[in-house]
């Protein structure tokens, strides 16, 4: 009799491949890629030194400064702050002392860690990828199990190339149908969070599927997976397909020759079996997704751009108080038309939307137009290579002519650790991923949206339906 293997999800398969042992419900999993940046790693390296430990697999460890780097052209001499300088210097020293892969700030390949991982071919299907940053979920777009870890775990991975984990539950988010005009990957991912809430995915790994997801480019898929964490999930995944292979092929650290063929053969087995079990399932129709913006201080505060600022009374339980607080912080009143909300600043960039396709979308909207007078509009490419490509394609010129400030790559105003910050009560249309209080600067007010929508807001000076441009 033939023994049938148990049906497994994509997450189950990756988990099984990396499982070293399970004892008392606690598992040790093997890590393929460890991405490191300057903010969450100094204490981990310090821990290694104190214990006299080495980095277990330096070739699988990749470091790049991104969170704290200045985005001005004089950044090699002007660090923004003395503490920032020390943090960069510390990463530099740690990378060299421990012999790990490193893209220094003066390297054209430097950029946001989640942009350069895929760009350099470190991110491959079926891998386990961790980083001391919650947006590590981005790499899930390749069918890799990728998630953020804390600094103690960074130290643990550095020392052992393994991570202590408990297996998460499986959650499926299926988006089927055809996306409407002006609707992008960002609108999909924000709409999902709006529907499930910021804790909707807690304890789960989300697999995004359905033909609307399949229709996205790899860059779009990265945008979707990037915000899995805002939905509370440990990680987001999309099964690899031909588009994935095409994206990966020829990248500097992707396999070549025989190894490539062997890898492709394996990667083609990376999908959820048809009858695999999901603990939670969410279904969305692409036709029901509109260009959206956030109105509050939680990424779940999502509404179609055609809508109105809600009243706290529309909510229940503890969300009533939270909504009240959000509206007060955001300086908005219930019933206000979202499209009447005027902005002071526009931020285009981040690991969510700092890639070349994002910049192309922005160019489409702003080419031949001008940023509304008085608006501070900033573009921060996700990496040196994205910046270079945008300059070669003429995007940089169009954007500069329109009045955008064209910056050096980094995380910048997404988390505002460097001097790129909002002023109190300054309102920003942002392509980043978090609209928390103070996220982009103390008292700053963030509305999250797609690059096209943020570009439209730059032109009109208010939240704008991109379909009207």
């Amino acid at each position: 009799m033939k023994i049938m293997a148990k049906s497994r999800t994509l997450y189950d398969k990756i988990w099984d491949n990396h499982l070293i042992q399970t004892e008392n419900n606690v598992s040790l999993i093997y890590i393929d890629r460890h991405l490191v940046h300057e903010v969450t790693s100094p204490q981990a390296f310090e821990g290694l030194r104190e214990a006299g430990r080495k980095v277990h697999a330096p070739k699988k460890t990749i470091a790049v400064p991104d969170h704290n780097v200045a985005t001005t052209s004089d950044r090699l001499t002007n660090f923004g702050s003395e503490e920032g300088r020390i943090q960069l210097e510390t990463l530099d020293k740690n990378a060299r002392d421990f012999g790990i892969n490193y893209y220094a700030v003066d390297d054209i390949r430097q950029g946001i860690v989640h942009i350069i991982g895929p760009e350099q071919g470190w991110t491959l299907p079926g891998m386990t990828i961790v980083c001391g940053d919650s947006h590590t979920a981005t790499h899930g777009a390749f069918g890799a199990l990728a998630h953020g870890i804390g600094t103690s775990e960074v130290e643990h991975v550095l020392a052992t190339q393994t991570l202590i984990q408990q297996k998460s539950k499986n959650m499926k988010v299926e988006v089927s149908g055809e996306l409407g005009n002006g609707v992008t990957a960002k609108d999909i991912t924000l709409t999902i969070i709006g529907k499930t809430g910021t804790a909707g995915g807690t304890g789960h790994v989300i697999e995004y599927c359905g033909n609307a997801i399949e229709s996205l480019s790899l860059e779009g898929r990265m945008t979707v997976c990037n915000m899995a964490i805002e939905g509370g999930a440990r990680a987001g995944l999309i099964a690899p397909d031909q588009k994935t292979l095409d994206y990966v092929k020829g990248r500097p650290n992707a396999p070549k020759g025989e190894k490539w063929d062997k890898a492709v053969k394996f990667w083609k087995t990376l999908f959820s079996d048809p009858d695999a079990y999901f603990d939670k399932e969410i279904f969305l129709k692409a036709e029901d997704i509109a260009p959206v913006v956030t109105w509050g201080t939680s990424p779940e505060d999502v509404l179609p751009i055609t809508d109105f600022v809600p009243s706290p009374d529309n909510f229940q339980g503890s969300k009533v108080e939270a909504a009240k607080r959000s509206l007060e912080y955001m300086g908005l009143r219930p019933g206000q038309k979202l499209q009447d909300i005027e902005v002071d600043a526009v931020f285009i960039g981040s690991c969510t939307n700092g890639r070349i396709e994002d910049l192309r979308e922005v160019e489409k909207i702003v080419k031949g137009k001008k940023v509304k007078s008085g608006i501070r509009a900033m573009v921060v490419p996700g990496s040196g290579l994205v910046k270079k490509q945008a300059e070669e394609e003429g995007i940089a010129n169009s954007l500069k002519e329109a009045g955008f400030d064209w910056r050096m790559p980094g995380c910048s105003m997404c988390l505002a650790m460097n001097p790129d910050q909002l002023l109190p009560e300054e309102r920003c249309a942002a392509t980043s991923n978090r609209n928390f209080e103070g996220r982009q600067g103390r008292g700053g007010r963030t509305h999250l949206m797609s690059p096209a929508m943020a570009a439209a807001a730059a032109i009109t000076g208010r939240l704008t339906d991109v379909r009207d441009i």
Partner: protein
């Protein structure tokens, strides 16, 4: 890591939902390369005004609650970034236990790595504990990790669940890396087999 067994202390009520890591410790304090000294900036923007003066209404600025070692917090506590600076700041301030109906995943893990016990309770228990915390006279609680009990000020005992392995590590103040390295042979034989099979990785 410091051992955690019995904690008796003041519980501060913070019923706001989605208390995120940017609230716990804003970005300007992430430039440090140390784990210590973050406590004075815990909840920075809620705790101090633009001029750096304490905001009197903020719970942890009130005389009684400034000595809190427990927070009874709203749902989805610790959402947002993976910054371990959040538990470092809590610990440095003196918080050793957080009670909520739910926690964000990474924050939850980060707490255990720093000797902080996050306890998940039902909505009903949460309401009771929140009410206790709100009154200074009933805000002192005792947490017994070994026996998985919360002792209310009126003597009532409430049970809570905790993962066995995490409990064991907290009770004994164990360092994960040391534990994992006990399996070093297993890791290296796995690694060998793995790199033969997935030669491109």
């Amino acid at each position: 890591m410091e051992k955690f067994n019995i904690l008796e202390g003041i519980a501060a009520p913070m019923p706001l939902i989605n208390i995120d890591t940017d609230m716990l410790i804003p970005k300007q304090f992430l430039k440090t390369i140390k784990r210590t000294g973050l406590g004075e900036n815990l909840f920075f923007e809620m705790r101090y005004d633009q001029n750096g003066n304490e905001i009197k209404d903020f719970i942890l600025n009130k005389d009684h609650y400034s000595k809190a070692s427990i927070i009874v917090g709203g749902a989805n506590f610790g959402c947002g970034s993976s910054r371990e600076h959040a538990p470092w700041a809590l610990k440095d301030f003196g918080i050793k236990c957080i009670i909520s109906t739910s926690f964000a995943d990474i924050f939850f893990n980060n707490c255990f790595k720093n000797g902080i016990l996050p306890i998940i309770v039902s909505e009903d228990l949460h309401q009771i504990l929140l009410q206790d915390a709100e009154m200074e006279t009933t805000s002192i609680m005792k947490i017994d990790l070994e026996n998985q009990k919360i002792f209310r000020n009126n003597g009532n005992q409430l049970d809570f669940e905790v993962d066995e392995f995490k409990k064991y590590c907290l009770l004994n103040g164990l360092d994960d890396i040391g534990l994992t390295l006990k399996s070093a042979n297993k890791i290296s034989s796995f690694e060998k087999e793995y790199s033969d099979k997935f030669s491109w990785s």
